[in-house]
């Protein structure tokens, strides 16, 4: 019984394939030349099993093993097995051509399936019945054991050849591909309008009033004396003060009815009228300004110019000069007069670009305990009564202004005159009571560079530009060429290089 092996040509230099005949494992049935130039042919092995050892001096990422049996009339059918081989020594990739391990099928001339095989891709120890393991040689070793199954002796034959390929070791991660450059060039300009005020609030459950100063006096009499509610009423409703949810000051005229209505507490009339607040949510406009460019150059924009926006009841916030300069900016507030929450919308032309929130209600405690709670709670956080009011804003951030790199060469990445950036704090949060004490109108703080341009600087060094010119003869004056590919000048190589160097350093046309 013979097993036939046919080995095709290989094309990897320095590698070898060695075929062992398991009939005598120490008998080398075939050994290729060092340059892996194995000639095609049929090699007979005198056993039902055979091994071939694939040796390479350099790591080979994988080996394709092709099996073909001309005796079974496979024709052009190739059965390849790709085994990833680790980059190292001492490991063996084993192909065990047993019945349940190979998925390759080979049919004989009559069409019947003669050889079932499945690919075993995990590493296995080399399996020998009673043969010693072959000594691994340098590089990577592949050993295969093939056991033909159900192949009639008369048609038995196995053809094996290998193609070894040197792969990109990073190939498992995919190779590079060209891409990009197919942008849609569509810059969306959807106008972002002011949102509508909420439709649901507290007024169905809580009554909002706009007391006058005189009403405030009457309120104290109601809450702290027995002159308004009789004892019988007090016995019925309990303490009137328990029905006060909140009292405070807001910085807007409230939307009130045309006439005042009887003031009631716990459904008990207090005997005097007060104006009720019709709307919990309000919109308040601070108008528009246009921020003109000063230099009308790159100096008007970040990072050379910095702009901070002061928003009443919010504080200082950074804005990008590119959003503001040359644009008409509008500020509109949405306020909740019950909670005191406010949102400032900063619009550029017709689009909201910024939105900041704060607190515009200055609470009035109606008891010593409330006042103590207000102050002590905040001083406990900050350790200072002076800063307590700032905590009423719900946070303790600070607007930060950033001054420009004044005195340096603007745009130079590594100028000897460069100075570190300065971060300047223009103020803390301006919410709640602090807001009442602060400026009530929004304003910009514009920090701009004071340029130092020498007279006739353009003549001596030009100004920045970036465009393609068809012929330099069209230009006049100082010119620095960024890129050029000189042609049609019959000068020597040195001269051409010199011309290019001079053009890039600056010439005068």
């Amino acid at each position: 019984m013979y097993t036939c092996l046919k080995v095709n040509d290989f094309n990897v230099g320095g590698a070898q394939i060695i075929v062992y005949d398991n009939y005598n494992p120490y008998r080398v049935a075939y050994q290729s030349d060092d340059d892996f130039s194995i000639r095609a042919g049929v090699y007979h092995v005198r056993s039902q099993t055979f091994q071939f050892v694939f040796v390479s001096p350099a790591p080979i990422p994988y080996v394709d093993i092709y099996l073909q049996s001309p005796y079974l009339s496979i024709e052009n059918e190739l059965h390849s097995i790709t085994i990833p081989i680790p980059n190292g020594t001492g490991y063996y990739a084993v192909m065990d051509f047993q019945r349940d391990r190979m998925s390759t099928t080979i049919k004989n001339q009559s069409g019947g399936v003669k050889w079932f095989a499945s690919l075993e891709t995990t590493l296995q120890a080399l399996e020998f019945s009673d043969e010693p393991e072959p000594t691994p040689q340098s590089g990577v070793v592949v050993t295969a054991i093939a056991t033909p199954i159900q192949i009639p002796e008369s048609s038995q034959g196995v053809v094996v050849w290998c193609n070894a390929k040197m792969l990109n070791p990073y190939g498992l991660g995919g190779n590079s591909e060209p891409g990009g450059g197919d942008g849609q060039f569509v810059n969306p300009t959807d106008p972002i309008q002011l949102p509508a005020l909420p439709t649901h609030g507290v007024t169905d459950f809580i009554k909002l009033w706009n007391p006058s100063s005189a009403d405030m006096v009457r309120l104290t009499e109601l809450l702290f004396t027995g002159n308004v509610f009789t004892q019988a009423v007090r016995d019925l409703i309990g303490q009137p003060i328990d029905y006060i949810v909140s009292l405070g000051i807001v910085p807007v005229p409230l939307s009130i009815g045309s006439v005042s209505t009887p003031f009631v507490l716990a459904h008990q009339s207090a005997g005097f009228n007060m104006y009720g607040v019709a709307q919990q949510y309000m919109r308040w406009s601070c108008g528009s300004v246009k921020v003109p460019p000063y230099w009308n150059s790159f100096l008007d924009f970040e990072p050379h110019t910095s702009i901070q926006l002061y928003l009443p009841f919010i504080g200082f916030r950074d804005v990008l000069p590119s959003d503001i300069v040359g644009k008409t900016v509008t500020i509109t507030y949405h306020l909740d007069v019950f909670t005191g929450s406010c949102v400032a919308y900063v619009s550029n032309e017709d689009t909201i670009l910024y939105q900041h929130n704060g607190t515009c209600l200055s609470p009035i405690p109606f008891g010593a305990e409330q006042m103590q709670n207000l102050v002590s709670g905040f001083t406990g956080l900050l350790g200072s009564a002076a800063t307590a009011a700032a905590v009423l804003t719900g946070g303790f951030g600070a607007g930060i202004a950033k001054s420009i790199l004044a005195g340096s060469v603007i745009g130079a990445a590594s100028s000897a005159l460069s100075l570190p950036e300065h971060k300047t704090q223009h103020g803390g949060n301006a919410g709640s009571t602090v807001g009442l004490l602060s400026s009530r109108k929004p304003y910009f703080v514009l920090n701009r560079p004071r340029q130092a341009v020498a007279s006739s600087q353009g003549i001596y060094s030009g100004f920045a530009t970036w465009y393609t010119v068809e012929s330099f003869g069209q230009l006049d004056g100082y010119t620095q060429v960024a890129e050029c590919h000189l042609h049609d000048i019959p000068a020597t190589d040195w001269e051409l290089q010199e011309i290019e160097r001079l053009l890039k350093e600056g010439v005068i046309f």
């Binding site: 706009n210 007391p211 100063s213 009403d215 309120l219 909140s246 009292l247 405070g248 000051i249 807001v250 910085p251 005229p253 409230l254 009631v264 507490l265 921020v291 000063y294 790159f298 100096l299 515009c360 004044a406 005195g407 060469v409 603007i410 400026s439 009530r440 929004p442 304003y443 703080v445 514009l446 920090n447 560079p449 004071r450 340029q451 130092a452 341009v453 600087q457 353009g458 030009g462 100004f463 920045a464 530009t465 970036w466 393609t468 010119v469 330099f472 004056g477 100082y478 620095q480 960024a482 042609h487 049609d488 000048i489 000068a491 001269e495 011309i499 001079l502 053009l503 005068i508 046309f509």
Partner: protein, 143 residues
Amino acid sequence: MVHLTLYKNLSERIKVDKNIQTLGTIEGTFRGQADVLEPTLVIKGEFTNQCNYFYVQEFGRYYYVTRTIIIANGLLELHGAVDVLMSWKAGIEANGGIVGRQSTQYNLYLQDPLIHAYQNAMVGTLEFPEGFTTESYILATLA
């Protein structure tokens, strides 16, 4: 033997099309080997400090005078270095490319690393026309 045209050049070294005044033509011979790019020529004539530029007809190139050595018997040794800008002016002007700095065609919105600034920046303020000018008491009660 080569044919020289002597000039007085008053233009900037980086000027492509130089403003040159002809002083005269003369013949010269090479001192040693002929270097097209840095020739050394011997001419017969009186020294003049007006001549700082010359043209060699056979080389088709213009040269700066780098050295003038007075040799005896009315001979001058003229050392030159090629002016590639003037020599290849036509070819240079016919070429094109991307311009990075220019004295008359520029865009001030581009970052310019050669623009300096003083240390004392300008600070300005711009106030909005409207604000919060009133105050109101607000009382919230359980109905």
